[in-house]
């Protein structure tokens, strides 16, 4: 493995390989792995970015009707969810910090807290969507068809964007559960932490998207 083991480390020097002769096992390169994760996060960003572009263009076209739509959304629920997600981001960051200090137990508890937050977020979201559905406000509903075009497009964007975001919350939650198992099994340790860091990065991205979704949908009324 000496050849491709030429992974420059932080200082740019090649790191000797832990498994000489085993070609198919790549050496542990945490910087490379994080770089890969960040590049992946860029694609997620642009994926939501495309929807944000749509939001902005429709806002230009339908302006005040978006405000009408926004007034129907509950600032309290949205705000509560913002706090929940911010807190979950904090606990996830702390979980990693705890791992760096070899405090596995604390880290696991913090990850539990993160998952509780994720579930809490989804429960609030479910109530919110449920409320909209109960009012007959969902795609293809008769009530929706009676609204102005601006409000229709506002709610379409609302369902699609918060829907995609909720999907990411679910994926992120599952990833955290998975990484917690790996911590328990001893596969993620203080010395091989990058898997957990990457899951953490993903979770923070979920938070980032919500930081923009919340004011754009709930606060322009």
């Amino acid at each position: 493995m000496s050849g491709s083991a030429a992974i420059p480390d932080d200082a740019g020097h090649p790191v000797p390989d832990a498994h000489p002769g085993h070609h198919d096992i790549m050496p542990y390169d945490p910087v490379g792995a994080r770089m890969g994760m960040w590049l992946f996060l860029l694609t997620e960003l642009l994926l939501f970015g495309a929807m944000f572009i749509a939001f902005c263009m429709y806002y230009i076209q339908h302006g005040w009707r978006f405000s009408l739509g926004s007034q129907e959304l509950s600032t309290a629920m949205g705000g509560a969810n913002t706090l929940v997600l911010l807190t979950s981001s904090l606990t996830m960051a702390l979980a990693i910090a705890a791992m760096q200090r070899r405090n596995t137990r604390l880290s696991q508890q913090l990850m539990n807290a993160t998952i509780v937050c994720a579930v809490g977020f989804l429960v609030v979201k479910a109530f919110e969507w449920g409320g909209k559905f109960a009012h007959g406000l969902y795609p293809t509903s008769d009530h929706m068809a009676e609204l102005s075009q601006g409000e229709q497009i506002f709610y379409s964007l609302y369902f699609v964007m918060t829907g995609f975001h909720a999907l990411h919350v679910i994926i992120g939650g599952v990833l955290i559960l998975w990484v917690k198992r790996r911590v328990t099994k001893g596969l993620v340790t203080t010395d091989r932490l990058v898997m957990m860091e990457n899951v953490g990065l993903y979770w923070h991205l979920v938070d980032l998207v919500w930081i923009f979704l919340f004011p754009l949908f709930y606060l322009i009324g």
Binding site: P14, H23, M26, G36, P139, S148, V160
Partner: protein, 542 residues
Amino acid sequence: MSSADTAPALPKLSYLNEQKGLKSWLTTVDHKRIGIMYLVMILIFFVVAMLLGLAMRLELLHSGKQFMEGTTYNTVMTLHGVIMIFLFIIPGIPAVFGNFFLPIMIGANDVLFPRLNLASWYFYMAGAVLALISVALGGVDTGWTFYVPYSGATDANLLIPLLAAFLLGWSSILTGINFVATVHRLRTPSMGWFDMPLFVWGLYATAWIAIIATPVVGITLVLVLIERFMGIGIFDAAKGGDPILFQHLFWIYSHPAVYVMVLPAMGVVSEIIPVFSRKRIFGYKFIAISSLLIAGIGSLVWAHHMNTSGMANWGRVLFSFLTFLVSVPSAVKVFNWLATLYKGSIKVDPPLLFAFAFLFLFSIGGFTGLTHASLSTDIHIHDTSYVVAHFHYTMFGGVGTMFFGAMYFWFPKMFGRMYKRSTAFVGITLFFIGFNCLYIPLFLAGLNGMPRRYADYLPEYASYHAWSTVGSWILAAGILTMCVNLLQGVRKGKPAGPNPWGGSTLDCDVPSPPPTHQFEHVPEMTHGPYDYHHHTTEEVTA
């Protein structure tokens, strides 16, 4: 593949035969084997799409209906486009030659994420299988651009082809992530950024576009699906949506995508020309940076595809101007290639002839591209067969030619054997004549107002179409000759040796075909990638 070890001069063990059996291929994480697997699939799909193209040309041989109804023709046209673009030309050079040569050229034993690399191939295959299933279900007739509202209104089954495009997008995103991270992390320590071969620069720029732009089109296609199957009208005019926004989001990816296709091809040209003129590439840094500039500016010009779409006049002016600017870095590349030939020692081998064919065809494609950048002329020729011809000159004449050029250049390295030189010349000549005969009449028809995507045409355009169809037959004969030559080469070509063309990049130091584990030691950069004088200077100093 394992028959390669029968010839005496070939290395006994190579990546081709160190492990045997289909399973060893399907589960491999070796970048070279993954490249070969892409090659096989991509060539198969190329032939399928080429046959579809021939069928379209045959339908258009005469005015009036020959053997296809409007919808059938539209379906064939869509399939030709979807397969050629998503399954052949976007993955083409990066997935096959990028996978194979990028790690070797930077002195690494594999890409940074080998398992992800295999996953990309499976994404590709999943997309391909879905595309085939959609054919079995009757195909789609929307054109490869899937424009709304038609894609929301057509009776055709849209779910599967859109999912296919989505998966293929993920395949190229993952490959892109892999390439960027690999170039950053796995360059052999003695290789600085400006010691990289230009092919690597091309791939690096391409990978960035794939990462940045592909998700935009991915989510856009998903939004079309949501609109169609869940009644959420993001682009539906009846629900306050704007069909033109779809075009923006679609072209934000799909215009840079043509640079995804063409940058690696330019990279191959930059490898071939110095090798066969035994001379260092002229203006290395300018070529390298122009790749990044093409990728950068190329991402800002998408809306020239929408010059007649009803978007705001000032938007059109802005995008026209930006489009003109992108021609500058392309021109820089062409001039530098020419200057490389100056005072060289040129031997016209088949790969160089491909590079010349590229220069000829791509220049025509590029120059006719200016007529699309120009506002008033574009309004006239937009959506006519002039566009079709321009597009094929850049994509097929440029990228397609260099796909085969790369094959003829690196074939000896990949398989350790040589193809027949004389047959190669016959193939290229037929290809070149057929190509021009096929597409030049389409330029003329377009200038006279022949719209594109027409299953039938008025009698006044008959002669153009007749010539064009004849050209398609010559072109097909050329491609057939080229492919047969290579297939025969794989089986019984003469052993090629490690450095048949006398190149100077790191891949010339490893045996042909390379062993699975190509570098036993960290390779040292003793000379630049185009330093053909290093032997003599070493001898002199010795």
